[in-house]
């Protein structure tokens, strides 16, 4: 783990998940698959919330709080983002991390 922290410091990436590495606010790299994605501000906000321990069911509330949109819009946006995250396998990284 110390080695991973050192590596993160060297590359300027943040390393809080076992396999997801954030680069600034724009990119996330899955270090196991080597796949990387450009993130919208909302996607970055929600992935970081997942990292901090949020549940996917809280996405709509988080969007409402952050962006001040009505709840119906937030629910739709949250579903769309979650679908994209799931298709890319991103939430799996957090599930694995939190497994006992």
């Amino acid at each position: 783990m110390a080695e991973k922290k050192k590596e993160a410091a060297r590359t300027g990436a943040s390393q809080r998940s076992d396999t997801l590495r954030f680069y600034g606010g724009s990119f996330v790299l899955n270090t196991a698959s080597g796949m990387f994605y450009r993130l919208s501000p909302a996607a970055e906000y929600l992935l970081r919330a997942l990292e901090a321990g949020a549940k996917t069911g809280q996405f709509a509330d988080l969007i409402t709080t952050r962006y001040g949109v009505d709840h119906a819009t937030a629910v739709r946006d949250a579903e769309l983002l979650l679908n994209q995250f799931t298709a890319l396998g991103l939430p799996d990284n957090f599930r694995t991390k939190r497994a006992p």
Binding site: E7, T11, A13, T19, R21, L29, T31, A32, S33, G34
Partner: protein, 362 residues
């Protein structure tokens, strides 16, 4: 006891659109052994590593007969080269020449020339014709592959697998056939060059992963580096890659190398279809053309191989960290026609010392 450091011969010197590993192996060796004498064994005076002047060029180069000429012709040529060079080791870098080196290994040892080669049964098991059965036996996912020995069999195999299919040569080349109409065109050229049998293979579509490493011959991977290909050429060759840390690939790699008791360098090529496990596409019995990438980030596998050939304790290697990446870069090398003429007529060329800067032509 440590062996005296003699010259190392390296093959596969052309970095063209389908780059060969030799120059990357040479560059890696020089990173650890800057004074090492490196001999290039070349099949053609136009091989790119024979031009220019840099760390990935040999100190001297000699033409050798094509692998098809056989093991005896190779040994005879190496004996001629030995009259001029204190040759101690050979690192073969092309699939097609491995069988010849395996055939003359005892004679090479008698002459004080060593190389690390896989056992014949390991080499055969990883061949394109046997890989499917090998993987099925050890439970490693693999695309469905059938062997065909004549045109009718190719057609039957393709029909059984279902179009589209890849038609692959015994050693090199693969062409896509989308329908029965494409089939003959897909294999005609391959047959002319490589002959029968052909492999007819299910088409998988997904991300490509490569593992390079060195096996100890007892079932263990001494060290390895895994990348995802970021860019691919029209031939499917990796032109950029990023290091990944995937326990699933590590597990499969260990399983394969353990089962083969693989000795020496290898490259495992996997393909990952979304939602399915990694499938093994090929096992190459040599270093890949991108081998100098791990060397540059502290994981010098060619140097590890030479340490072993020299009977010396290998230097500890770093683990390649996920996120480190390479992009291949093509450059134009300068030469004189006399360089080509020398090599083509005499079959040998001694290069200027690398420390001498290249003079520009006014």
């Amino acid at each position: 006891m440590k062996r005296q450091k003699k010259a190392v011969a390296v093959t596969g010197l052309h970095r063209g659109e389908n780059p060969q590993p030799g120059p990357a192996v040479i560059a890696s060796l020089r990173r650890r052994f800057p004074d090492l004498r490196i001999i290039g064994l070349s099949y053609d005076p136009m091989e790119s590593s024979l031009y220019g002047q840099g760390a990935d060029h040999p100190d001297a180069a000699y033409l050798i007969p094509f692998p098809g000429a056989g093991a005896t012709a190779l040994l005879e040529r190496l004996d001629m080269i030995r009259e001029k060079e204190d040759l101690g080791f050979v690192i073969p870098c092309l699939d097609s020449e491995l069988e010849n080196y395996m055939a003359i290994h005892p004679q090479l040892l008698e002459r004080g020339i060593d190389c690390i080669l896989p056992a014949p049964d390991s080499f055969k098991a990883r061949g394109k014709a046997d890989l499917y059965d090998f993987c099925r036996r050890i439970g490693v996912p693999v695309p469905m592959t059938k062997l065909a020995n004549n045109p009718a069999a190719v057609e039957r195999c393709a029909q059984e697998i279902g179009y589209p299919v890849y038609v692959k040569g015994r050693l090199y080349n693969a062409n896509l056939a989308r329908s029965r109409a494409d089939l003959a065109q897909a294999y005609d050229e391959i047959i002319k060059v490589w002959g029968w049998p052909l492999m007819v293979q299910e088409v998988l579509s997904g991300e490509e992963y490569d593992v390079t490493g060195v096996g100890d011959g007892k079932g263990r991977i001494v060290k390895s580096c895994t990348i995802r290909k970021l860019l691919r050429t029209s031939h499917g060759k990796g032109f950029a890659g990023i290091v990944v840390e995937d326990p699933a690939i590590d597990h499969l790699s260990q399983r394969i190398i353990h089962e083969l008791r693989w000795d020496g360098p290898f490259e495992l090529e996997f393909l990952k279809v979304p939602g399915k496990p990694h499938a093994l596409m090929e096992i190459n019995p040599r270093f890949p053309a991108w081998i100098d990438f791990p060397s540059q980030i502290g994981c010098n596998l060619p140097a590890l191989l030479l340490d072993r050939l020299l009977d010396q304790e290998p230097q500890p290697l770093r683990t390649c960290a996920a996120g480190q990446m390479f992009v291949r870069h093509c450059v134009d090398l300068v030469g004189e026609f006399s360089n080509f003429a020398d090599m083509a007529s005499s079959g040998e060329r001694i290069f200027k010392p690398r420390s001498v800067p290249i003079e520009s032509t006014p």
